[in-house]
Symmetry: C2
Subunit: 353 residues, 2 copies
């Protein structure tokens, strides 16, 4: 097997930006999407990075994305806004949503911006992280773009793995960044197990009788398990109500499976909350408290065999730093896929960009 | 065994109010605490209802609660406030917090109120539900008052089962109310298993080697399992950062175990978020969307043996209605405890109130 290739962030960003431009996005929008997709790859969210170029391209070519959206505020109060994404790329909608939330939180202390008629926007933490640069906590909720779980005890797949992300800035310590699906395992992990011919651990999936399903090749016969059983079902539903139903976006049976349908408007809903630290008191004092807490967790006595206690987002933070220094690792399979994609688009390969 | 006694809501409220007055709370504060504790019992949160009279009384007598607190706003912006609870009863602090959040959300669309120097306030859903009467969504976070879990992979109990509650009003359907600890089982459930001499299912607790612990009599040797493993650890930490650290309240090793210490100021932190539905569009249309979604979940095809699919908060909603009609069931053990308590306080028994 060929070794992985390391690509500088700027090169990956440029490659995706060129691809997006060729697909018809205006240059500035292409650059925004390129920067955010490359950042997803930088932080190790590889399921939401360069690999997504292909399904995005497929949907754009099928006419399922509005390349010239009029992304606008349709409802507004001092501490909130509702954005209509006009079926544009989700990255554009949510970047704007984050900017509005940050701006409004400066005045109100806290601000919430929801979206409808948006689209898949990449990893949740990308947007939850944005307020941190302004000394704010970020919180992000989204309705996923394919339903993989039924209500607890049910068989109809009516819920997605609706993610929650929260980012809390530290001082000297890395930020605490939680980015989690409301299922035990993400569907991508199941696919990876199938590719490697491995069995899944008990607890990832159940079959239609409620029994553990461990053969990933039979994944279509079962469902992802929500975390904590009925609790995760409740969380997935609540996240969907906040990010979807509240905004008039798709939820439940209205969710379009973007793996199977490239043309229907997904009407994706998301929400972002920004909390301005300075509204609560001294920012440096807050960050010092976060640092103290982080160090306390890390210094806990460990179970036998546990080498280190990690904070949420810490591994991703380290990966981000390493990838900025050494370049972003692109595995041989992904590189081959991107090569074919570049050829197909009549553009230079990633390595030659 | 004696059958359970059914007590009208007003009678339980009166009993607790009298008790609180005798313990030294001003009459209006005693009435507020009485009403909220009785409401906890009404909705079936029996772990947070009348049973708490005893530990509250113990703490009050030990001087661990300020009976005449000056609960005041110490930080404020149009969409947020930070309340200093002055070590008063948590119910008083969080009722005021909810009222401020509701008032501010009317103007800003969304508002967040945090607390510090508060105390245990009963079930999370009690406060998340408050904004619903004003056509708002409520969200509540709290730092629990005893640490029961270590960071993932660790052995030092640095985290509580920090709960999250969210309440979303429906139209004709009951509201969707999620109220969950970030552990698979609450510690009260473990105690109940021990009392009944039953084993716990695998997944509730682990021992210091990370192995399943199923004997509830050995509970002191192990830890509660967070939901979804490291995900629940992340959630418990994030909830604590939002409800505790952000407000300058206790978190991590600063948390006082209120089962073992009646005098130290707990410096409990909580937070409530109110989201005004009318800011997002037509309220009736939103409620109709919630109803549609609720019915869709309920109508899902079911696994064999599953009689009904429940929505989060639906069972509690039914119980609330039944208890309003038939009176609140008080089991013989609790009644005996309350009888002794009444005798000790020199006040009429619950049944004679």
């Amino acid at each position: 097997m060929a070794p992985e290739t390391r690509v500088p962030l700027a090169q990956l960003r440029e490659f995706i930006t060129i691809a997006m431009t060729r697909l018809g996005l205006p240059p500035q929008d292409a650059a925004t999407v390129g920067a955010l997709m490359a950042e997803a790859e930088l932080q190790g969210s590889d399921g939401h990075g360069a690999i997504r170029l292909l399904p995005y391209a497929r949907r754009i070519r099928a006419g399922g994305i509005n390349l010239h959206p009029d992304i606008k505020i349709v409802q507004e109060r001092p501490g909130m806004a509702l954005l209509d994404g006009d079926n544009g790329m989700g990255h554009l909608v949510m970047k704007k949503a984050a900017e509005i939330a940050i701006e409004k939180a400066r005045t109100c202390g806290v601000a919430w911006v929801g979206s409808r008629l948006s689209n898949h926007a990449g990893p949740a933490s990308l947007y939850a992280r944005m307020p941190m640069a302004h000394d704010m906590i970020g919180m992000y909720f989204a309705v996923g773009n394919a339903n993989h779980l039924p209500p607890w005890g049910g068989l109809d797949m009516l819920l997605s793995t609706n993610p929650i992300a929260v980012a809390v800035p530290g001082g000297e310590e890395p930020p605490v960044v939680l980015d989690m699906a409301t299922t035990v395992a993400a569907y991508g992990k199941v696919k990876a197990k199938a590719q490697r011919g491995e069995q899944m651990p008990i607890g990832w999936m159940i079959d239609r009788l409620g029994q553990p399903l461990t053969d990933p090749k039979r994944a279509e016969e079962g469902f992802l398990m929500p975390i904590g059983g009925y609790k995760g079902y409740g969380l997935a539903l609540i996240v969907g109500l906040l990010a979807g139903t509240l905004n008039g976006a798709a939820m439940g049976s209205e969710v379009i499976d973007f793996n199977k349908d490239d043309t229907s408007t997904t009407n994706t809903g998301q929400a972002i909350l920004a909390i301005d630290l300075s509204a609560f008191g001294d920012v440096a004092a807050f960050k010092a408290r976060v640092d103290k807490l982080v160090r306390e967790m890390r210094a806990s006595e460990r179970m036998p065999g546990v080498e280190r206690i990690w904070l949420p987002g810490e591994q991703s933070h380290d990966r981000r730093a390493a990838n900025e220094r050494d370049g972003i690792p692109i595995g041989p399979a992904l590189l081959q896929t991107l090569d074919r994609f570049a050829q197909d688009m009549g553009m230079a390969r990633l390595q030659d960009t």
